[in-house]
Symmetry: C2
Subunit: 274 residues, 2 copies
Amino acid sequence: MNKQQLFENIKKKQSFLCVGLDTDIKKIPEHLLKEEDPIFAFNKAIIDATQDLCIAYKPNLAFYESMGVKGWIAFEKTVNYIKQNYPDQFIIADAKRGDIGNTSAMYARTFFEELDIDSVTVAPYMGEDSVTPFLTYKGKWVILLALTSNKGSHDFQLTMDVDGERLFEKVLRKSQQWANDENMMYVVGATQGRMFEDIRKVVPNHFLLVPGVGAQGGSLEEVCKYGMTKECGLIVNSSRGIIYVDKTENFAAASRKAAQEVQAQMAEQLKAIL
Amino acid sequence: MNKQQLFENIKKKQSFLCVGLDTDIKKIPEHLLKEEDPIFAFNKAIIDATQDLCIAYKPNLAFYESMGVKGWIAFEKTVNYIKQNYPDQFIIADAKRGDIGNTSAMYARTFFEELDIDSVTVAPYMGEDSVTPFLTYKGKWVILLALTSNKGSHDFQLTMDVDGERLFEKVLRKSQQWANDENMMYVVGATQGRMFEDIRKVVPNHFLLVPGVGAQGGSLEEVCKYGMTKECGLIVNSSRGIIYVDKTENFAAASRKAAQEVQAQMAEQLKAIL
């Protein structure tokens, strides 16, 4: 999927919502545990209930890996289900991978070749040759960590170098030598508020994947105020705030309602540019 | 396994070699492809042929994930095989994970609880709360990326801050507030040569996991000269240089020979401290 198609989907759905599929066997409704594959059954219900309200799904690999082989089966089934039934959805493998070249190439093969997923989140610490193997697949995206939503983002990402550049800014600037706004996005946490202004100084046109609204406390309004571009430029993720709002047999309808509320707020914000 | 036990194993085997199990279906001997699980068959043969010459095995998750469900099965079988047959081996899940707290906790559950692996490599970019969930398991280790072996290590890891501290030094220093030399090690690439001197100024007693000898061109002698402590303090990994030296039916014997050569060099280096 290219940038223009993504923007078209945003306009059509009046939404830039990504639903995070952080599916934890310990948190899903109890009645699903008697299903053959409870994780997939949960995801399928959530996807069917929210697909017209969002433009992306983000399975978080940690949650699937924690289930071992069963988890991988559920992950693959989820990806295939989205691709077959809702092919306009942008799929993000939230994996935060990154390793020496030949190893990153193997991760890229997994996500882009074997699973044909649109994008994967990548950690920048190991530099250029840990990221570029992910950039060799046409139509696929790297979503590079820049300024994350957690408290620990202050430990290293804000460190200022001798030239007055902070680490996250250096990541944004340097990585533009490897890629452009048609094959790279950046993770910027919704909790970072006004820092979106500084981000936009370095990457005025790139899409940003924004986790951290909802459970983590970020504000959608603030993110839009400081981070939105003429082509939206934002994919805002919500995981726990949508998928775990209800633990009864009505969980999917409840998730839909939660997604509708976010989508309505997003439609309001989109008025500024549409 | 604690630090003292690791050192005892090093003394007993006169080796601080870790064999990296970067097992790629495209690189293993062809005759193995008719086995039910070629990846596990290859690993089993390599492990049986090298176990008395090394103190650790490091399966690289990327290579298993690229095979999807089959890869995970091979990974789990490999870990269980080592644990059952060679329980004195230190197992490293080379995964380079790291995410917000609840997600890192899921990765920790996978590697430490489900698979009972000794250690996992972790990327520091997201800071304290992305690392600490891995530190809640008694007897388990975090191996944090500090100064990696690849060219891209220069992109961000060497960036000097306004106080004259380079990023990898900040990672070493700050992370000591979260852990100590009984539950944390650091990845330092063998290609970094004299930089081991600078590393030892900040972490004089920690074990270092050192990839990059062999295929990547690092020198064992130099690593030992600048990085070895009184308790060795080094686990030196070789992957391609040991597991892919021969593609015939004799591959395991050839790998053993390659491991023997490295072990002999290590025994020589250990004379300095034993």
